[in-house]
Amino acid sequence: MSANSLLEARAIDAFYGASHVLRGVDFRVGRGETVSLLGRNGMGKTTLLRTLMGLVPARGGEIRFDGDDIKGRRPSAVARAGVGFVPEGRGIFPNLSVEENLIFAEREGPGGRRDWTREAIYQLFPRLLERRANWGNQLSGGEQQMLTIGRALMSNPTLLMVDEATEGLAPMVREDIWRTLRLIAERGVAIVVVDKNLDDLKKLCRRHVILVKGEVVFDGPTGELAARDDFVRSQLGL
């Protein structure tokens, strides 16, 4: 494992019921690096995130995070190691206020870091400050998404994994989410993003990984992605 590697997964296999979803996937994220995970629907993007998080068991291969072997650990242990997860579908606590949702997740990060406080989250998402007394179920889709990202940050992760954060959001809100993710990356948090908007991903991420039927078919920097445009378009169905 190279010195600046944060997450290093090698030869990961995973199953969903009887179907073999991930087939020997290698996936690496450096410290503070921004990586996009691309592919058509049903190719294994979400499953890869869930496997890294420990929500789907990895069969075979190894997963190392910050030097530790995290394969087979419970999701709670993976989170404590410094991985924040923003799942598809958000999953905020509907009967807690915005503020309570944030307090719930408050925790020191690895090495006792406390970069992200409630104040910092409110600075990042002024909208959440306005709505901080509202219940989770009174928020609009965009506000829920902001809260989910904010909540993940409250645990001071060194890696943030974001699954389809802009899905179902109005264009202006989408723009907000992308801008915030760039700000988070500037503060040194490594980010893995699954999304459909290639143009936005190119602006945020330096490296891109394409999954096809559970295998990595492309892994390279933005420049190479642009250079192999035809290949990329055919793989993504653009």
Partner: protein
Amino acid sequence: MLKAPSIRALVVLALLGALFLALPAYVGAYGLKFATRMIILAIFVVSLDFILGLAGLVSFGHAAFFGVGAYAVYFVSSESEAANVFVALGAGVAGAAVAALLIGAFVCLTRGFYFIMVTLAAAQMMFSLFHDTDIAKGSDGAYIMIKPDLTIGATTLIDFDNRTTFYYVCLALLVASVLALFWLARTPFGRIVQGLKANETRLSALGYNVYQFKLAAFVVAGAFAGLAGALFACIDGFVTPELFSWHQSGLAIMMAVLGGAGTLFGPILGVLAYVSLEETLKTASLVGSFVADHWRLGTGATLVVAVLLSPDGLAGFLRGKTVPKKVEPLKDVMPAAAPRKARALATRDLSKSFGGLRAVDGVTADFAPDLVHAIIGPNGAGKTTFTNLLSGAFRPTAGQILVDGENIAGWPAHKIARRGVGRSFQRTNIFATFTVEENARIAAQAETPSVFRLSEGTARENQIAKVAHALSVVGLADRAGAVAGAMSNGEQRQLEIAMLIAGGGGILILDEPLAGMGPEETRRVVELLRDLKSDHTIILIEHDMDAVFAVADTLTVLALGRLIAHGSPDEVRRDEKVISAYLGGHAPAQGKGAPA
């Protein structure tokens, strides 16, 4: 959905059947009575599984119908003459069915925990009725002096007093009950009953009256429980209020879960295992007096271990290949054209308040037929609430919804769906445990949403065609056999659309159909909308502005619950209010008049 038992399970069941057929030759009177009791309990627990495992209705009062069945035999028996077996068993079944109809009429209004509580309370009321009044000798129980028989002329063909005869009658009725319930589960009616467990909301949105289906399933299960109760009364010719007790109901749930709820054959294994275990642990000569004295501890501990080892019950150990059968390949043939359905949609001063919040505030709009009407607006503008009003998921606080001029405001969701208004959901809302094909089939079947449909008859071919067509249109034809819940989010979104098409409404409401779709699917859905609009009215809620401006004929913009703009895409695109509230710089530069 209910699967055919695996080959392994069939072998085990056949062996058990052979064993039970041969049993009377090898066991004495006690053993035979013991086996008879097990068989009757099995009928009871299988009947419970029909609502518990298939419909997902956890009834904690199923013993009420067992008890009614037993007491019915007492009521039709006289002290001097044997009752006819058909009269006795018929009275048990009919009595229990009527009781289930009366009780079910109330309990089926509830769901979840309340359903458990209310069924428990109803059974306790029945218990009290027979325990505390002397309609049937009260708490002491009552004797049936002469057991039922079947006598024609001078010959007695069947006599329940004959242990062996009675045993075989019970065995035959168990087999018949299981087969009958299995068959029922695979009829169009049974498909909807299983849909109750998987997704009630979606069933309503497709036009099914879920209350009627719940009640019908409840009555079917009650009737079979009544059969078991009637037989039970004939074992000893004795009935007691204890038959109604919640222990009896609880035990049935335990045996169903132990055997494998939702399989219809698992409960038989559960009964055999539980009763054998209990008898073994009670026999001091086998397990010692200490264990025998505390046998409940033993059964409890064993059950905990069993559930941990196999969460799917004993039937879970018998999973495997099923007998292969011919699968009809799905061919994309154009289904027969549906009769022309309602199409013109309009709202007048439509409003919905939640407490102090006016989520939809006096919206008046006309949606003409054969056009795509897009509704856009910021998150929280009230778009989804608006669709929930149109589809009947919410009741409007004020205002009208007109379908072909008829005001449907306040109608329940299933009635609106039957009027031809189909909808897809923003958050994927499918039958997760069903296959893709079964999902679409439930939608296609909604053209005839009545309860008592045991066969599709001539509609079958056209339903299969509708399913095949809908799946191929959204690009899921090769996924027909996949379990919907195991597919990716995007594929589930595709299935949402397929169900909407298969449902065949004339007015289609699509709530963010493109969220979660990749570029290919997006193109396909946009094409699809263009095709569909020739004979549909389409309401499209969507944030993908490229798609909206590509297909929409009119645009309606909501903000804070109010209509702020309504018109052609070009007009709306230039509207200052719309640009500042929603579009920002995002209106695609298409045609003339795009903002700078």
